[in-house]
């Protein structure tokens, strides 16, 4: 098991543990984790993403899509769970 991070376009998307991925040291993992948990709070549509240098960059969040609920009866839900295609 190793400490890993996922990076894209100069931003850290996530950290974690696993057997694959870009390996980092435990110290680096803990440092990034502490920065993540001190993330600035989202205000309105302004949120923040983490640069590789561990600084936060503000960006505007896209509006959330209006997705209506889908209801299933028990039989439909069971078929979906076991992988029966409709």
């Amino acid at each position: 098991m190793k400490y890993v991070k996922t990076v894209a376009d100069g931003y850290i998307l996530a950290i974690g543990t696993g057997d694959a991925g870009v390996e980092i040291t435990e110290a680096e993992y803990n440092e990034i984790l502490s920065v993540i948990r001190a993330k600035p709070a989202r205000v309105g549509t302004t949120d923040y993403k983490l640069r590789e240098d561990l600084t936060w960059e503000a960006f505007e969040v896209e509006p959330e899509p209006d997705i209506g609920p889908t209801e299933y009866d028990k039989a439909e839900a069971y078929d979906i769970m076991v992988g029966v295609e409709s």
Binding site: G18, D19, A20, G21, L50, E64, I67, P69
Partner: protein, 164 residues
């Protein structure tokens, strides 16, 4: 140092055994590649074979994810490592998700969440609506939607994940 004669069929058999155990299809040249491939075989430790797992912590709130894996899988589950605060319908926090590749066309997302209003629901993906999960030999990536809102990974919350 003594020299030995070894048949190519025996070398092939050894290489095949190394490839099978190491989960690779690479051509191996004796002896250097054999040595390297054996060294790359994950050490045992009582874990399940054919299973990838680890933890995942998003740096920013996100409805997409990507985790690196060591092999091609067809199922993944995320479980929060601690009880998450209840959320209202305006923003649904991912509490449990299981996704699997049902066929070449569809990747299903089965998502269960309970809120403080006891409003349990199930959201299911149908190929181009509510998100998809893509399984490759090196990563599993995907996105999620919830009932009436976008389901997401909160920043800084750690999830345990397993893929098989």
């Amino acid at each position: 140092m003594a020299n030995y004669v070894v048949s190519d069929s025996n070398l092939t058999a050894i290489a095949n055994a190394i490839r099978t155990k190491g989960g690779t299809s690479a051509q191996l040249e004796f002896p250097d590649d054999f040595i390297a491939a054996i060294g790359d075989i994950p050490s045992g430790g009582g874990g399940l074979s054919g299973v990838d797992g680890g933890t995942y912590t998003a740096a920013s709130e996100t409805d997409t994810f990507s985790v690196p894996v060591t092999a091609l899988h067809s199922n993944i589950v995320f479980i929060p490592t601690k009880t998450l605060a209840n959320m209202n319908k305006a923003s649904a926090t991912l509490t449990f998700v299981m996704g699997w590749a049902n066929s070449a066309q569809y990747q299903y997302v089965f998502n269960v969440r309970s809120s403080n209003t006891n409003d349990k629901w199930i959201g299911v993906n149908d190929n181009d609506w509510r998100g998809q999960i893509a399984f490759t030999a090196s990563t599993i990536s995907g996105s999620f939607y919830g009932q009436g809102a976008k389901a997401y990974f909160p920043a800084g919350e750690t999830y345990q994940w397993f893929a098989w």
